[in-house]
Symmetry: C2
Subunit: 265 residues, 2 copies
């Protein structure tokens, strides 16, 4: 599974302070650690920096790319920000995100067409958060069709089934898992991605629920996840799952992570 490192997000207090103080060393040390821990992409999100988001994105992109050779995922709700920031990214970027909503999709189209990129598509539309797997699949279909029409290759499309809180809807976990399975079955070549935090909203021991969900999602076929690669318990669950799904010949990855102290029980 592709790990997209989620730590460079200004909604995290320490990152916000580092951005505020233009603390180059803090940011560079953090991304180096994420990459060493297995992140193949680094997500950059400065959405909480009202008024200075674009300027902060520029700074973060420069600082990260100076430190390390890694692909970047640009994460913003503002298409203009995304479009301008995208031009500063050295290697093939990931754009996070569009939705199936007509207005959002139209405002994101020029961003996506600007250059070749991986595109995250959230499976929601004008009706809001999907109420069931069929609605997720309708949005998935619309996203695949419209992204392909823009010239995006299937293997560059990452669909997010939008896992909701199980505390609000008992079926939320099952819905997300079924959606992942069906996306891979019905749209061969298309990838799936998800974040982990919504699912456990308002419950105690959230990280336990989040990593258990990651494990089940991997079994369902999940291609990528936005996670903290320095979370040793999460990495433990990820490595153990990969092992149990027959994707770790000779247990090499599991044993390597263990020896390097990257997984915890």
């Amino acid at each position: 599974m592709l790990i997209v490192g989620e730590r460079i997000n200004t909604s995290r207090k320490q990152v916000n302070e580092a951005v505020e103080k233009r603390d180059v060393l803090f940011i560079q040390a953090d991304v180096k650690a994420q990459v060493e821990a297995g992140a193949l992409l680094i997500d950059i999100n400065a959405g909480s920096r009202f008024g200075s988001e674009l300027e902060d994105l520029f700074w973060l992109i420069e600082v990260v790319q100076e430190a390390i050779s890694v692909r970047l995922s640009l994460d913003s709700s503002d298409p203009h920000c995304l479009q301008k920031a995208l031009r500063r990214v050295r290697d093939l970027p990931m754009v996070n995100s569009t939705t199936a909503e007509k207005s959002r999709f139209e405002s994101m189209a020029p961003v996506i067409q600007e250059r070749e990129c991986d595109v995250v598509g959230l499976c929601m539309d004008e009706r809001g958060i999907p109420k069931g797997v069929d609605q997720v699949m309708e949005n998935a279909q619309r996203l695949v069709r419209n992204l392909e029409a823009l010239g995006v290759k299937r293997e560059r499309i990452y669909l997010d089934p939008l896992a909701q809180a199980v505390s609000i809807d008992t079926r939320a976990g099952l819905m997300a898992l079924e959606s992942i399975e069906r996306i891979h079955k019905e749209f061969a070549g298309v990838k799936t991605i998800c974040g982990l935090s919504n699912i456990s909203f308002s419950l105690p021991k959230r990280s336990l629920i989040n990593r258990t969900f990651l494990s089940l999602a991997l079994k369902a076929g999940l291609s990528a996840a936005l996670i903290d690669p320095l979370d040793k318990k999460l990495i433990g669950t990820l490595k153990a799952t990969t092992l149990l799904l027959g994707q770790d010949p000779y247990c090499r990855e599991y044993l390597k992570a263990f020896r390097e102290g990257r997984l915890e029980n």
Copy 2:
């Protein structure tokens, strides 16, 4: 999922000592704790007590049944022991276990016919541990056919796919998961059960692998597992999985286990 509490096993040092000293209070406190933690059956295994197995089983059955009203699973490789011990069990017993081997099955037939009971069938035959899912399914078929011929109802049959060590065969986890799925699909009504310890043989952080396997097995449809219900991390994974699979309305069970301090992150 049905929890079969595995702690009363004389291969565990403390239990062996308690049996040796006829320490009634130790055994009774242990089974009470297991039942409070969610065990619906208590497995009793005195197989390590060469020469005194039957006598020790008699004592354990009496002591446990005096303490608490709970179903018992009798676990022995000796059919004669099982048959005699079975007569002392108050409520519907579980017999653990037969296999699809002709000689083992024949020696277990009178035990199974002695009284109505749940029967654990290990999916192995004369060829030994199955080499692939198809071989598991052949053994499953043979067990179901032969047990039904003895008058055992489908819902009393618990098939164990015999998860092997992933350190020996990379595909072992996947094989076990596929076997569980196929057993439920092809033999409607038949149940599945498994132990967790083989899968992680010779690897570090075994309990991490074991509980991740339990989670994936639950997704595959596992009906029952022989586990330690006092293992808080294991129970955490179990409760989180049940929640994510939509089997815990209003998160009641998860929140209850959390409040009672029965789950750990």
